[in-house]
């Protein structure tokens, strides 16, 4: 039985006790985690600002002058907004409509929805974009070849702003779908049913009750999509640069690739993009907060009665199949098809006759390919694990601890959300070009980049699952005599594990497809898969690239399946 602190009268005793209290594992862990979060969030921003506004002679606006003095800058900003808003609206319309159909109607092929919302997640943006080039390029696009007899050559042109909007919007639509499914599911159907009972028609109910109630979710989704499209690099780089259509990200990349690279001008553009992103996120937060005033979520597990589509059911079924084809089947098939050819060509008997696995065989000969696969795997596993471990503790600080300033940890961990990948890459190169520690040019700079980029997602997963665990479970461990660390390890971690694992899988998948930070940070020998694909596209090696892409998608699929299987074993199966 412990009693009051030993009665040591000397001052020495007090100091020792103080040290002992400071040296508890709890405090050390908390300080280290909070420190790492702060470091990852703030240091790149600091160096970005510093590198943009200061040169050897002190403060300067030269970078801004060079970046924004260009006469084409107006066009660039216009293109950026057109592209971002267009893609956001397209993804919103498609995603919301599909979500409503899925949750609230008796539309057929509901099984396809799941596939259509999960599979695009494991098709990296760069592969998706390239697949659409194969499909709708005016010269070689399969779809163009298909309709050439009717509409003449080059009917579809993916190398335009509309083309960019189409590809980006379709690629983002599964995310909107998932967001809106959650919103529709969490809405109490009795709100709609009471409107029906009041005599409103289905359409009136949708317009006057459903849409206003889900408006916060819709607005939040559209802003998130605008910000994501603004930050998107793959689509503008591959589709836009062809015809000299610049947006912020591709412009930054272009400025950095001209020799000598103008870091200050790139930084100035990055700061501009950052400002746009911050505005978007700020508005969406504001809307999200006001949306909470009419929370419609009730705890009850209800199953709303699906609306009957009647004669529209087959039509909607057709729409679903078309969507599935456009987002999943088309891109994957065209990659698979290309990967089997000797050179890229439209389908014909000769083309099919010439098919072989040569491209896959060639992958083994390219030493880069194996290195890149290994690097991607190591980085994905490493960053997912690091982030989730850090954020498990971070979420505890934010949700459970009563440490003053805990909200700061939360805010800091979300800072990278507004930093576009390309900007982060630039900022990190500013940091570690100056750092005496030899990190620049190694794979570790990529690890730092990934951990920074995916910290917000990890935090969100960890915080959400932390909220779901009743504080009493922790308190009862405490009362049972468990120390902080024992409680954390034996009660919290096992209970958090399903959420942490979900976050881990997500980060593993998205870090595999990461391109926009990596492209500014990799060095020869440290390529990752997405970089290699980008390089091969620029070299025109379409067939090898397609084979690499197929391998990449398969690797991701296997990883995700293993992770889910493991999760089912390790995690809780709560019903």
């Amino acid at each position: 039985m412990t009693t009051a602190s030993p009665a040591v009268p000397a001052r020495k005793g007090a100091t020792l006790g103080w040290l002992r209290r400071l040296g508890t594992p709890k405090l050390i862990i908390i300080v280290v985690v909070a420190g790492v979060i702060g470091y990852l969030a703030l240091v790149p921003l600091y160096y970005l600002i510093w590198g943009t506004f200061f040169d050897a002679n002190g403060f300067t606006l030269g970078g801004f002058a060079r970046a924004y003095g260009d006469p084409r800058v107006g066009g660039m900003i216009g293109n950026s907004l057109w592209f971002a808003v267009g893609a956001a609206v397209l993804s919103l319309v498609v995603g919301t409509a599909l979500a409503y159909l899925n949750v609230r109607t008796d539309v057929p092929f509901k099984g396809l929805f799941f596939a259509a919302s999960i599979i695009p997640l494991i098709i990296p943006g760069i592969l998706y974009t390239i697949a659409w080039i194969f499909l709708a390029s005016p010269d070689i696009g399969l779809l163009n070849k298909l309709i050439e007899p009717v509409f003449g050559p080059g009917f579809f042109d993916v190398f335009t702003v509309w083309g960019m909007v189409w590809v980006e919007g379709l690629h983002l639509s599964p995310i909107v779908f998932l967001l809106m499914v959650a919103a529709f599911r969490s809405m109490d159907p009795s709100l709609e049913e009471s409107a029906l009972m009041s005599g409103a028609s289905r359409w009136q109910v949708f317009r006057r009750v459903t849409v206003p109630l889900t408006r916060p979710a819709i607005v939040a989704a559209v802003l998130v999509m605008v910000v994501r499209s603004l930050e998107s690099f793959e689509v503008p780089a591959l589709l836009g640069l062809q015809n000299g259509i610049y947006v912020f990200t591709s412009r930054i990349y272009f400025v950095l690739r001209t020799y000598p690279p103008d870091l200050a001008a790139a930084g100035a553009l990055a700061v501009g993009l950052l400002v746009f992103a911050v505005i978007g996120v700020a508005i969406s937060n504001l809307v999200g907060r006001s949306g909470k005033t009419y929370q419609t979520v009730t705890g009850k597990g209800f199953r709303p009665r699906p609306m009957e589509l009647g004669k529209w059911r087959p039509v909607m079924g057709g729409v679903i199949v078309l969507y599935f084809f456009l987002t999943v089947v088309g891109p994957l098939l065209v990659l698979l098809y290309t990967s089997l050819l000797k050179f890229y060509q439209a389908p014909s008997t000769e083309a099919f006759a010439s098919m072989s696995l040569d491209n896959y065989r060639q992958l083994f000969d390219i030493s880069d390919a194996m290195t890149a696969l290994k690097n991607s795997l190591a980085l994905g596993l490493g960053s997912a694990t690091l982030v989730m471990v850090l954020m498990a503790v971070g979420a505890w600080i934010v949700v459970r601890s009563r440490i003053p300033g805990r909200q700061l940890v939360d805010h800091l961990s979300f800072v990278p959300l507004v930093i576009p990948g390309l900007v982060l890459g630039l900022a990190l190169s500013f940091v570690y070009l100056r750092s005496p520690i030899p990190i620049y040019g190694t794979i570790f700079i990529l690890l730092i980049a990934y951990c920074t980029r995916y910290m917000p997602y990890g935090m969100r997963y960890a915080v959400t699952s932390m909220h779901q665990i009743s504080a009493e479970l922790e308190e009862s461990a405490q009362v049972s005599g468990a120390s902080w660390w024992q409680t954390f390890r034996r009660v919290l971690l096992p209970l958090l594990s399903p959420g942490l694992l979900a976050g881990w899988i997500y980060i593993l998948v998205v870090s595999f497809r990461e391109l926009s930070s990596s492209i500014l940070l990799y060095s020869p020998g440290n390529e990752v898969l997405s970089i290699l694909i980008f390089e091969q596209y620029e070299n025109g090696q379409f067939t090898v690239l397609a084979a690499l892409g197929v391998v990449m998608v398969l690797t991701l699929a296997v990883l995700v399946i293993i992770a889910y299987k493991l999760g089912a074993k390790v995690g809780l199966r709560q019903d």
Binding site: R402, G481, A482, R490, L495, L572
Partner: protein
């Protein structure tokens, strides 16, 4: 056994801790617990009873070490767990070093562990020096599980238990370290009425058999009356009355307690005469005589608390034979199964009566109400 002296805890979050420090001006502080003191004797079940927000849970959590009070002392079995004595270093033993047992409102059973593991946990996390061997832990867990009649479910996943079994598991886990004091935070409030009643007796049996000193928190007066050796009724962070269940029910010391414990009719009036213990009180609708040990001078404003079951309803008058007969009209009646309530209008008052369901009188009927002087309670005006 348990001694609590001058416990104070003010709320408003940690941010305002400085403003809420004991030296801050009194009016700036919002109190969850305001100067609460009580003692619990060995083997007793002591209940903190009150409406939500009265500070009962905060008091319990302060004993557990889950809340840090602003000032006061908490002592269990002679060991000081919390103290802010003037001129001494403040002492606050962390929750995990207090060695108390606690049953939570949700039971807080760890869903990722089996029944056995849940109970073994408190023994497994003991400091290395005090930790029992694997075999002893297992023996001790099984012994407790047997007491709670859970031994045959030891390997079952803890989430796959019925409500009653979960409660026994939570109790087993709290008792396995043989704590000097057991804390119970509304352990019956999440259950349906039927189960609640049977578990109430179960809880009482276990507590009395093991003779474990317990502090019980509830807002349910029936539960408190049925379980406790003594009750502290709390309101706005203060203990308003402390006593045995019968005292609290039969002699509430203020209107709040009388209202909170059971239902009551209140008749306000003033004392017109006093003869020994027998008082006569004038109300707007007539005189009432009653017995009270209180010593109140003539002319004092008082409230007479009339329990519904202390009122007899009859269609015939016995005027002159018994005191306190009032005439009124039945307004409504409600059949409650084991009893029947009439609401009777008498002048400006409406009185609720409760009686045997065989007596059922049509609304609108003229009736006579008779109130036994021994069953009426004189409550001083707050």
């Amino acid at each position: 056994m348990l001694r609590i002296n001058n416990l104070v805890k003010s709320f408003d979050g940690e941010r305002r801790r400085r403003r809420n420090s004991p030296s801050a001006p009194q009016e700036a502080r919002v109190f969850a617990v305001n100067d609460v003191s009580f003692n619990v004797e060995n083997g007793q079940l002591f209940t903190l009873l009150g409406p939500s927000g009265c500070g009962k849970t905060t008091t319990l959590r302060s004993i557990a070490g889950l809340e840090r009070p602003d000032s006061g002392t908490i002592e269990v079995g002679g060991r000081v767990l919390f103290s802010t004595k003037e001129g001494k270093k403040p002492l606050n033993v962390p929750a995990n070093e207090r060695g108390l047992g606690m049953v939570f409102q949700s039971y807080a059973i760890w869903p990722h562990m089996s029944v056995f593991d849940n109970v073994a946990f408190p023994l497994q996390v003991k400091k290395r020096g005090d930790r029992l061997g694997r075999k002893e832990i297992s023996e001790r867990v099984m012994r407790v599980l047997e007491t709670m009649e859970l031994a045959n479910l030891a390997d079952r996943q803890a989430t796959k238990l019925s409500g009653g079994q979960q409660q026994r598991l939570a109790l087993a886990r709290a008792l396995v370290i043989e704590p000097p004091l057991l804390l119970l935070d509304e352990p019956l409030s999440n259950l349906d009425a039927k189960l609640r009643e049977s578990l109430r007796y179960e809880l009482k049996r276990v507590q009395r058999e093991l003779g474990i000193t317990s502090v019980y928190v509830t807002h349910d007066q029936v539960e408190a009356l049925a379980l406790s050796n003594s009750i502290a009724v709390m309101r706005n962070g203060n203990v308003v009355q402390l006593g045995r269940p019968r005292e609290i029910y039969e002699n509430p010391n203020c209107r709040f307690v009388a209202e909170f414990i059971g239902t009551s009719n209140f008749l306000s009036g003033n004392v017109v005469s006093k003869d020994g213990d027998r008082y006569t009180v004038n109300t707007v609708d007539g005189q009432i005589v009653l017995d009270s040990a209180a010593n109140l001078p003539m002319g004092t404003d008082v409230i007479v608390s009339v329990r519904p079951e202390a009122v007899e309803v009859s269609t015939t008058s016995r005027q002159g034979e018994v005191p306190n007969e009032w005439k009124g009209t039945v307004l409504t009646r409600a059949y409650l199964g084991d009893s029947l309530d009439h609401v009777v209008g008498v002048g400006k008052h409406e009185l609720r009566t409760r009686g045997n369901p065989t007596t059922s009188i049509e609304p609108g009927t003229e009736v006579y109400l008779r109130m036994d002087p021994a069953k009426l309670v004189l409550v001083p005006v707050d």
